[in-house]
């Protein structure tokens, strides 16, 4: 049995030169390599879209952090994706200020338009929908992010425009 487990267990992949370059740059700012763990996961995610077991093991090995400890960090933070996500991640604010201004019906609108619920990805792999805690933009609620871009004072029409914009980009 032990052989079967060994042969199917994920193994660390090779980090790319770009990933290593960026991780090394971050290391300069901290006295201990472990401090770069989260940043390294973000770097890997930037290039790979998400953090696979193979990526996590690679980062753990590279920074000499026990893999279970790094996994504890990876699963702790909202913005580290341990499952594949679509090309564009919609971070939809569902906290109180947005809720008071009607974010629930906007979320239903997105779900209807894209055919996905929270945690799901569209079949064309263009969008993943994830709820996000208060984005700190409450005076311009309802609000959401798509990738690094912030969208405010949302309406169903505005959401349709945003979706069309990203679809056009492909």
């Amino acid at each position: 049995m032990s052989n079967i487990i060994a042969s199917t267990a994920p193994k660390a992949r090779q980090l790319t030169p770009e990933e290593i370059h960026e991780i090394e740059h971050e290391k300069k700012h901290y006295p201990y390599a472990q401090a770069v763990g989260l940043e390294a996961l973000k770097i890997v995610q930037k290039y790979q879209g998400w953090v696979s077991d193979e990526s996590l093991l690679a980062v753990a090995e590279y920074l000499d952090i026990p893999p279970d400890e790094l996994e504890g960090v990876a699963t702790f933070f909202n913005l580290i994706y341990r499952r594949p996500v679509g090309k564009n991640v919609i971070l939809f604010c569902d906290s109180v200020a947005c809720w008071m201004l009607g974010c629930d019906s906007l979320k239903e609108h997105i779900t209807k338009r894209l055919g996905i619920d929270y945690g799901q990805t569209t079949e064309d792999n263009l969008f993943t929908l994830i709820p996000v805690p208060c984005l700190g933009d409450c005076d311009r609620a309802p609000t959401m992010m798509v990738g690094n871009q912030h969208y405010r004072n949302l309406t169903p029409e505005k959401i349709d425009e945003i979706i069309a914009e990203y679809r056009a980009k492909g």
Partner: protein, 424 residues
Amino acid sequence: MSTNKPLTKNIQIGRAPFNFQQYQAAGGYESVTKALSMVPRDIINLVKDSGLGGRGGAGFNTGLKWSFIPEPDGGPRYLVVNGDEMEPGTFKDRLLMEHDPHLLVEGIITASIALQATHAYIFLRGEYKVAEQCLHKAIAEAYEAGMLGKNIQGSNFSLELTLHTSAGRYICGEETALINALEGKRANPRFKPPFPQVSGLWGRPTLVNNVETICNIPGIVKYGIEWYKSLGVNGQAGTRISGVSGRVKNPGCWEMPVGTTFRTLFEEYAGGMQDGYQLRAFLPGGGSTDFLMPEHLDLPMIPSEVAKAGSRLGTSLIMVLDDKTCPVGCVHNLIKFFAHESCGWCTPCRDGLPWAEHILRKLEAGEGSMKDIDILKEMCGYMAPGNTFCALAPGAAEPLQSGLKYFMDEFVEHVNHGCKYHKH
């Protein structure tokens, strides 16, 4: 030339923030020069006597917090600036970081001179992408100008400043959890004592301060206590950023004298309620504060005064609950947030919050019972200060306990008939 808006004098929405030269030409970085000529303990005493209270929500006297740092022993000492703004309904640090990043950098250098810190970190919320770019640029410019790095302005003082971006977790607002996160660990809070001033980041003396708190430092050092005290009203010192969200005519945040009343903020700055809506209640300073009612609007925004009314000033960004929005649903939304953001370390929080969320969901769905309301009341006690490892669950219990206090008839109505409010 002194100013009565030290936090926002350089801010003009719509134009790019000042670069180093522009900021310096407007009187920027003068507090660094002044601080370098002072005895560090004198700066700490100055900040203490100014009456500046922490702007992250707790309101503790900043200089007093600083004064607990031991004398230097030759090893590293850290200043960590908490820019992980994530309290529901709070959007003030974003304004400061996106529109005048050099004010924060100046504050960090001046504070570090006082604390004799060797390395400062800005712990920035991962979602704040614009703030990240602005701060990166400002820090690079400050290094280039010799305002950061070795022997700042030809003095013996050296300081490194690093921007750390997080990845979204409310608990990082708790300072020891933030320190764990910065060390690359899971962001569970630490046992106190020892306090971070004695044993913080990597076991070294560390101060953790909020962005807005640090932005107050340049003015205090440059213009002194008398000037700072002249800025406040109702016996208070300084200015702070307060704001309003919810169904008001003009939501936003503004710099105003400390001690301004909720009414001035709500009516004069935010323009009152939108037409067709009445003010039912408001959360005075973020999701983790107790509801206040319209009769509390004349209170000055002073921590002790707000405490007398049974709440906390918190971040002083108020969220208004209108008469057409369900109060039970509002509490449910808040508890759902806190349940999600619990770090899972201690039982009252890890188990209590999801349970409370479950009950509130049932009530919203019209499937609750009177027994459920009793359980919610009991749970506020389990999650009270002293029963949990950190302040997250007691904070979460605040809108729940005050919601039960002020809106009990609504809770009972939910048991009998379910939620009657229009779902947005």
